[in-house]
Subunit: 343 residues, 2 copies
DNA sequence: TTTAGCACTCTTAACCTTAGAGTGCTAAAT
DNA sequence: ATTTAGCACTCTAAGGTTAAGAGTGCTAAA
């Protein structure tokens, strides 16, 4: 038997081991694999192959007389080369589409719906960040006086995202001044990205300083505040209870570590940072997440966008033993759908 | 010994049993109580009293040879008559005050901060609803055209809460019409409560129908949408992981039931409804919560307000074995502080 | 009324034991 | 040169037993 076939047999067996383990959460015995191959190979042969796979680091066994379980390296190989995408069923797609049909009054409702959807279809924890306006294009700003020394800025991006910011001033602004600033911003900056707005706006402001000379500082301060406010990053996570149903987490200490981690803003934010690296759907297995408390978990993430501008991130957190083929399709589809809805 | 003293001794012992149990999470033996009374009474005597308390339904024992634990009725008596408020320490108060000192750009940040604070001081789950605008007074509305057939309504209450609502129209409105509606709303309805706004506005609209005759329907529809949008009720809950640390929840099945319940919007909303009944700080013990999945928990809640108008609810969920004396003070103080901050 | 004394109950942890699953190795079979 | 049967060996998980300890309830004496 040529080398190639030999290698491909190994791969096949690795694939079977991993898929079986993902399904049953039990170590896989040589006999089980032999049966799956319709006895084309005897358990003894499988055992030899398994020993090779173990030497190569793709599988391991919890103790001498137990079957095999995948290692991180095994899962990695599985998602990289063995797994073939398992498309969502029409029923699932329909369910996702339907769930976005409802009326959403606020962006929060959309985000919550999305994360609930992810968690409930995947039966894992679903994670969605609130969209950032940073990459959005400036469309309209409205400055409303709410007090002598307080204004409400309502900022809207081209894609229709809205943010309210309340700004306090030391000395009150005159109504005319507010209008002047509003007009200035709306006419000069229509369409430019908020991320680049600061430099552009302050420059332009200096050019037109004559018109603004006595409110220049206030105007600049206000712009700073507005741009600072849109940087905030918030994550919504739902379905931690789904994870603890998984056999590998039926253990109080593990649950405790996991729940604590998922409640920790730093952990969430480092997860989100990680996700930014990936093009398309990103898969992080165990220690690849680089969060110690999540070393028994995997993360499948994807960003969502408006007109190719990054808005936020969504994904699934669950045990490493996760039906990647399905989850990847799910995350991909939901991210596309969300992007469309917001667009 | 007169009847009174006899009764008060019973109460004292009940109090000791409950406080011990709250501290240690272990059934309390007659010997332990005797020791706590500096042997003023022998264990045998205590046992007699305990038998009475058990007959009266205040305590029970898990099995023949175990010490006593409080029943719901016992806890109820404790919080109603035995417990004396345990004020927060200055350090704790300071911590709460400090945590509200930061800059909050959005109301969401305030709510999240509050619930995190509750959860972290109480070492239980903290719960805060987002403020409803319903009871707030109308202050200002701004209607901004964002598309031919889409407008953004920015609604602000007297107390400074802001809500954005995006409204779509079948046929486009003219710019002049928008201004007309904006002016109408801002001049005629300044100061009236949003809850009563609908009737008042539609009535007034009919009186002035001549001015609006060709956009009457659109105007009415828009008002309906705006008022519907402010009804939404959202709850933020943090610290479920704190509950599962408690000895009575060191059990996978219980944790599962609990986490599922706390992720269930219906459960949360029925908790919030409950809270509306109570004047000041409300305490609900076990089945009093009227949510079967939470029959082993207690709920301590209080509403928060602006100028005596109800805005929302905050509180603590934890095991029935909860340091009520401390938690009540905490919930009370945080609710007052939050009310002040928002005012 | 209170308390000492004591039999009784029940839980918990520790320790065995055993069945069963699965491996690794060796030697025979293909 | 592989593949496979056979078998000894290992480890887990479940069940059973035991003993210690904590606490009660009752009775009879103080």
């Amino acid at each position: 038997m040529p080398k190639n076939d030999f290698e491909s047999r190994k791969e096949k067996i690795l694939e079977l081991i991993i898929e079986n383990y993902i399904n049953d959460a039990l170590p896989i015995s040589s006999r089980a694999i032999s049966r799956r191959l319709r006895r084309a190979l005897s358990p003894a042969t499988i055992r030899n192959v398994m020993a090779d796979l173990e030497d190569a680091g793709f599988i391991t066994h919890p103790h001498t007389s137990a079957g095999r379980v995948p290692t991180d390296k095994g899962y990695r190989r599985y998602v990289n080369v063995l797994m073939q995408a398992k498309l969502l069923t029409e029923v699932e797609k329909k369910r996702i589409d339907e769930s976005f049909k409802g009326k959403f009054e606020e962006i929060d409702d959309v985000i919550i719906n999305t994360s609930r959807l992810l968690s409930s279809i995947a039966e894992e924890a679903g994670l969605v960040t609130f969209p950032t306006l940073e990459k959005g294009a400036f469309r309209h700003i409205e400055l409303v006086e709410v007090d002598k020394d307080k204004i409400l800025a309502v900022l809207m991006t081209k894609s229709g995202l809205v943010k309210n910011i309340i700004i306090e001033f030391e000395k009150p602004l005159k109504k005319g001044d507010l209008n002047k600033i509003t007009n200035f911003l709306n006419t000069r900056f229509h369409g430019i990205s908020l991320r680049n707005a600061k430099k552009a706006i302050t420059q332009q402001l200096l050019i037109e300083r004559d018109a603004f000379f006595y409110i220049l500082d206030e105007t600049k301060g206000m712009i700073d505040l507005i741009l600072a406010a849109i940087k905030g990053e918030r994550v919504y996570l739902e379905g931690a209870s789904k994870i603890i149903m998984q056999p590998e987490f039926r253990n109080l200490d593990k649950i405790e570590v996991l729940l604590r981690a998922l409640e920790n803003p730093q952990v969430l934010s480092s997860i989100v940072k990680k996700s930014l690296d990936s093009e398309g759907v990103g898969i992080y297995i165990g220690k690849e997440i680089e969060v110690d408390q999540l070393r028994d978990c995997s993360l499948v993430v994807c960003d969502y966008t408006i007109e190719k501008d990054h808005l936020g991130v969504l994904g699934i957190i669950g045990p490493k033993r996760m039906p990647y083929a399905r989850i990847v399709s799910l995350v991909d589809y939901v991210s596309k759908t969300l992007s469309e809805i917001l667009g």
